[in-house]
Each structure stands twice: as C-alpha cells, then as structure tokens.
C-alpha cells in the first residue's frame, strides 16, 4: 500500500455517500496529496473510476481486501 495523506472511512455507507464524502475530503486537501478510501459498497468500484475520470483526480489504486474496497486517489 502506497503512502497517503488522509484517510476516509466510508464503510457501511451506500451510494452516493462514499463519493460525496470523498469529494468533501479532497476539497480540504492540496494538489498532489493522496486520499485513502475504505468502502464496503461494491458499487463504489465503478463509481470511483467514473468519479476520477470526470473530476480529473487520479485513481492510483483500486483493490478489494477482505470484503472491503480500498482506493487511493491523488488530488489533481
């Protein structure tokens, strides 16, 4: 797991909350910083891909580990 600057626990939350919380967290970070997101919503895998594509933030990593979905997003 790469380094990150901030972590967001979105476990137990369902669409669209993980995306909205991530957007809020990224808003308080500076460019180049990395946000680590932990989610349990299986829909978040596709949604974070789409989120990154549309906002320009970079989805550095997306993986599943023990029933949890982990993402690393670098703020553009």
């Amino acid at each position: 797991m790469a380094d990150f600057d901030q972590e967001l626990d979105a476990t137990g939350l369902n669409c669209p909350l993980p995306i909205l919380r991530a957007k809020k967290a990224l808003g308080g970070m500076s460019a180049g910083q990395v946000l680590h997101i932990i989610a349990t919503d299986p829909g978040s895998v596709k949604d974070f891909e789409a989120f990154a594509k549309q906002t320009g933030n970079e989805l550095m990593e997306s993986k599943e580990e023990g029933g949890k979905f982990l993402f690393l997003i670098k703020k553009v």
Partner: protein
C-alpha cells in the same frame, strides 16, 4: 468536466421518489456540475422543513413486501388502513440498516453543494402551501425560470 449543467424537474412527493432528484443532484454537484431542481406539484413536499414522506404499496406491484405479504394480500390488502405507515417504517428501517442516506441528509448535501432549488410558484399557490414551511435558501419561480437554466443544460430529467 466543469461547466456542465443538470436540470431536474421533481414532481413526486413520496419517500421512494424523493431519492432520484437528491442522489443525482448531489452526485452531479460532486462531479462539478451546476445543478438546478425545479419542484412542482407533489415534489414540493420535498422542500418542507419537516419531511413527512411516506411510501405506499398501493398500486405498486413492483414493491417487494416482507413475508410475501403481496401474495397473501393482493391489491386490496395494500389498501388496509395503516399499511402505508407500516411500509414507510419498514422502508426507513431497511434504508438505515443498509447505509442509505436519509432524504434530509441528501437534501442538506445538495444545499452544501450549492444545488439551486426552485419551488413552482403556481403549485405553491394552488395547494395553499405556506412558504414558511419550506427550507431556507430556495427560490420561487415559474416555467420560464426553469427554461432559463434548462435551456442551457446538458442533461434534463423529469422525475
């Protein structure tokens, strides 16, 4: 990415149909869209400070009911007094258990994200609704107000 616009007309005032406008608006705003929702007819219920939205199994054959109730109580059963409150309570509990945000929570998130909410003046008057019962920060307007924004929108939805 930026400068895209989403316009939504929200016409329904039930707990289930309250979700599409608020989920799509908050998400679109997070993706950088400028968003406007025009609330008309029963959709005006979604603007009330005190949300009292309900879901009805009546006339909704697609609604899954617990314990195969839809099988034992076809159509008429869904009209039994109290059924609506029971279904509303069950739906709310289920949503909470599954981590689905409440309508009020999503509406707050829309507000934070500067989603513009417009109440249809004609239907506010038609139903004698008291504007004081609505949340703060909304605007009042008519069809022309909607088109001012929708005319330049990339996506327009009628819910």
């Amino acid at each position: 990415m930026s400068d895209k616009k989403l316009a939504i007309i929200a016409t329904k005032g039930t707990l289930d149909w309250a979700y599409p406008p608020f989920i799509l608006s908050s998400t679109a705003a997070a993706l950088g869209y400028e968003v406007q929702i025009f609330f008309t007819f029963y959709g005006l219920q979604l603007l009330k400070k005190k949300l009292a939205l309900q879901v009805s199994p009546l006339g909704n054959p697609g609604m899954p009911m617990p314990m195969a109730m839809d099988k034992w109580f076809p159509v008429l059963g869904t009209a039994i007094p109290g059924m609506q409150s029971i279904m509303t309570m069950m739906m709310k509990n289920k949503m909470k258990a599954k981590g689905v945000a409440s309508v009020g929570e999503l509406r707050d998130l829309c507000h934070e994200a500067e989603v513009r909410m417009i109440a249809c003046q004609m239907t506010v008057d038609l139903f004698d609704l008291n504007p004081k019962e609505f949340i703060d920060g909304i605007e009042f307007g008519g069809a022309a107000t909607f088109f001012e924004f929708a005319g330049e929108a990339d996506i327009t939805l009628y819910v």
